[in-house]
């Protein structure tokens, strides 16, 4: 491999700091990009990757720190300014204009013109020429929306590079591409690299990191964990950098419960959806907790959405009590007495303006249909029962739920589904963003629920946590269920080595 470090420093970030109310998004982060280098920027949710990119491209202002481009200190005022400095960005959701032609997208704002009129023919000729350099032969007069995401992405890259980009930032460009398209993209990246462009590549896919990156930088909770050449970095070390956990020798305290036996309550056979998650088998018995572990983007949430009918499976069959069932919509799932608390409480879960009581009875009411309103007395009874049961800290049931703390909102959400007396409950990141005390309470609650015969599917990024309460853990990687751990195998170490292992 080329000793890339001998290349001149292209972009140098020192002590970059950025805070938002209540959270330090970036805390004295250093980052160095050399010319002709593909540099992977890695980290879990909330690590600070997007904040770093936003500060770099002028979307956000930094609180402190220095950004040097080719030795000169720079501050981008906005994206257009960043672009003119030579920092181009391509996002996962292609930020181009679907209604304009490919040619116009490439040249908007700098169309060749004469006497104030755009020379459309000349512009199209130059667009064809430019795209042919990327091995793309399309009708540039067609609107961009008529092309696949992969082509749109190449157009976006071509545009950014043509706008004199010295630094090209790719924010999860491969998230919606198939394997063939990813390979094409990588070919383009290698070509750009040989032209001396420095590329920052944000992704969650470890295989892709090893396939294309020269160097990686890992962020966690807004801090720099480390920056290393990829050639001498074992996978397991990379994963432990990302998840923030040394390979510890000490045995985990694990809540040993007798193995759950009996017939599965719910089972999914060969269940999957193309482009979302590969077909998987999954079965849960009453009183069993199954954890889903994997890096961000590995298919955990996708599994949950499929299992709850939010996404419709295109292969396989779901079974309840051994009988095949229809599971195409969340309504079907609710009818089968499934429950789901989503990852993003704020946008997908709570209705902030409604009271705690109204939030708790929401799912039950929906199940009964709007014509059969739950009598107010009954509502009060349900609300007060769960407030007491789950120890939801609120002065009274009529307080708007948005005013409660994160942990209490989470408990109210749980109550919403528990009120429907589910048999199978899916919890996506139940402990995210809540304080340590509430954390422990939620975990105790999970354990108590399965003692009552509930089957639980829990997604969590906290390996220790997931290992402590799960009977079995399914490990996911690159949208695939790669291994199911059970019994003594269930430990944070095994989960981590499984995530890191080659496919």
């Amino acid at each position: 491999m080329q000793p890339v470090t001998e290349q001149p420093q292209l972009l140098e970030i020192r002590g970059l700091t950025k805070g938002f109310p209540g959270v330090q998004a970036l805390d004295h982060v250093d980052f160095t990009l050399h010319a002709g280098e593909i540099h992977g920027l890695l980290g879990e949710n909330g690590a600070g990757k997007s904040t770093l990119i936003k500060v770099l491209t002028g979307v956000l202002r930094r609180d402190a720190g220095i950004i040097r481009l080719e030795g000169h200190e720079v501050t981008a005022r906005d994206t257009a300014d960043a672009l003119s400095l030579g920092i181009g960005t391509v996002y996962q959701e292609v930020n181009l204009l679907p209604n304009l032609s490919a040619a116009e997208n490439l040249f908007i704002g700098r169309q060749p013109h004469r006497f104030g009129l755009v020379r459309t023919g000349e512009m199209r000729r130059r667009a064809v020429e430019l795209l042919s350099g990327y091995g793309l032969d399309i009708d540039v007069a067609n609107p961009l929306s008529s092309y696949s995401v992969a082509i749109q992405q190449i157009v976006a890259i071509a545009r950014a590079v043509d706008l004199s980009a010295k630094v090209l930032i790719l924010d999860e460009p491969t998230a919606s591409l198939d394997a063939q398209e990813v390979e094409t993209l990588f070919e383009i990246l290698r070509r750009l690299k040989s032209r001396g462009i420095g590329i920052v590549f944000v992704t969650h896919f470890l295989d892709q990191v090893y396939a294309v990156c020269d160097r990686i930088t890992v962020l966690r909770n807004g801090r720099l964990v480390g920056s290393r050449p990829i050639a001498e970095l074992p996978r397991i070390e990379l994963v432990s950098m990302m998840l923030g956990r040394e390979l510890a020798a000490e045995a985990l305290h694990r809540n040993q419960r007798p193995a759950v036996v009996g017939e599965p309550l719910v089972a999914f056979r060969n269940y999957g959806k193309s482009r979302l998650i590969e077909p998987f088998d999954l079965a849960l018995r009453p009183g069993e907790v199954v954890g889903l572990a994997g890096l961000l983007g590995s298919g955990r949430t996708e599994t949950a959405k499929l299992v709850f009918g939010i996404e419709r499976a295109d292969s396989g069959q779901a079974f309840v009590d051994g009988k095949p069932v229809r599971l195409a919509t969340p309504r079907d799932a609710a009818r089968l007495r499934f429950g789901f608390t989503p990852e993003d409480r704020k946008t997908e879960g709570i209705v902030a303006e409604l009271s705690v009581r109204e939030n708790i009875v929401l799912a039950l009411q929906a199940q009964r249909g709007w014509l059969h309103k739950i009598p107010r007395a009954k509502q009060d009874e349900i609300a007060s029962r769960f407030i007491k049961l789950l120890d939801i800290r609120t002065p009274d049931a009529e307080k708007p739920i948005g005013l409660l703390s994160g942990g209490n909102q989470q408990k109210a959400l749980l109550a919403r589904w528990l009120a429907t007396e589910p048999r199978f409950l899916i919890l996506d990141e139940p402990t995210r963003g809540i304080d340590v005390g509430a954390h422990a309470e939620i975990i105790r609650l999970i354990e108590r629920l399965c003692e009552e015969g509930l089957a639980l599917l829990v997604i969590s990024s906290e390996l220790e946590e997931i290992a402590s309460y799960s009977d079995r853990v399914v490990v996911l990687r690159d949208r695939r269920h790669v291994r199911e751990l059970s019994g003594d195998e269930v430990s944070a170490d095994t989960i981590m080595t499984t995530i890191a292992s080659h496919s």
Partner: protein, 321 residues
Amino acid sequence: MIRRHLPVLITLAVFIVGYLICLAQFPSFASTRVVGNLLTDNAFLGIVAVGMTFVILSGGIDLSVGSVIAFTGVFLAVAIERYGVNPYLAFVFILGLAALFGAGMGFLIHAFQIPAFIVTLAGMFLARGLCFVLTTDSIPINAPAYGQIADIAFALPGGGRLTFIAIVMLMTFAAGIVLAHFTRFGANVYALGGNRTSAELMGVPVGKTTIRIYMLSSLLAALAGIVFSFYTSAGYSLAATGVELDTIAAVVIGGTLLTGGYGTIIGTLVGVLIQGLIQTYITFEGTLSSWWTKIAIGALLFAFIVLQRGLSAASVRSRST
């Protein structure tokens, strides 16, 4: 290629079919007199519709144009008849004033991120209210310049006349086509309608473009007001009420997507002519109330909006497979 121009082609087909129906019933529809009148009668609507097309293409709306037309008429009548201002000077002044008015609305929309609907609704009330401040009467305009300008016309073979105001409208459309399809400003307008955020990220001057769009719309509304004053030879505060809605209808029937980003200026011309055609048919028919125009427009508008939905759904489907 064909798919891209499908909405315009459908509009054109509707116009041709409509025209043939009229022709079958009233052979005189073939005469240049009827055609000339069609253009003259709808000149002011056409001019204001060009500006509205730009606004809607950018994803906005301008409800103030009807009031601006009325204000222009009242202003001209008061200035020329009461104060003896030179008509040409008055034209220049009102065009400048309208441009400022539009730029102000554009500035508010951009700077405070207020929906165009609200800002131009306020503009609509403001301009209409100012009419009544100037006068509550209908003031006839008798200035000699008016008579002279109104008399300018090209004789068409067959006894028809291509009047000055029809020529102004056709020239406005020609200029609009060039502006929309062959300038950077035009591309920026489409960009704004396609995706405002993306446009901003790609370095499109969003603020400047927004201000210019509303400036153009108000400017053309004032021009339409001048043309309307030639047409009626008067200024009246209650004139042109609801014209903004006729204009929006013409633009949408012309194949422009109400959510912005897709559409053409030439389509708007056909949209205006379809409205004119229906009006003319009802005049010829003689027994129908003129409200039937509105009913026909309503039905057409509805059909076109459903059609657009269908087309965009179809294009999404064809891409995902």
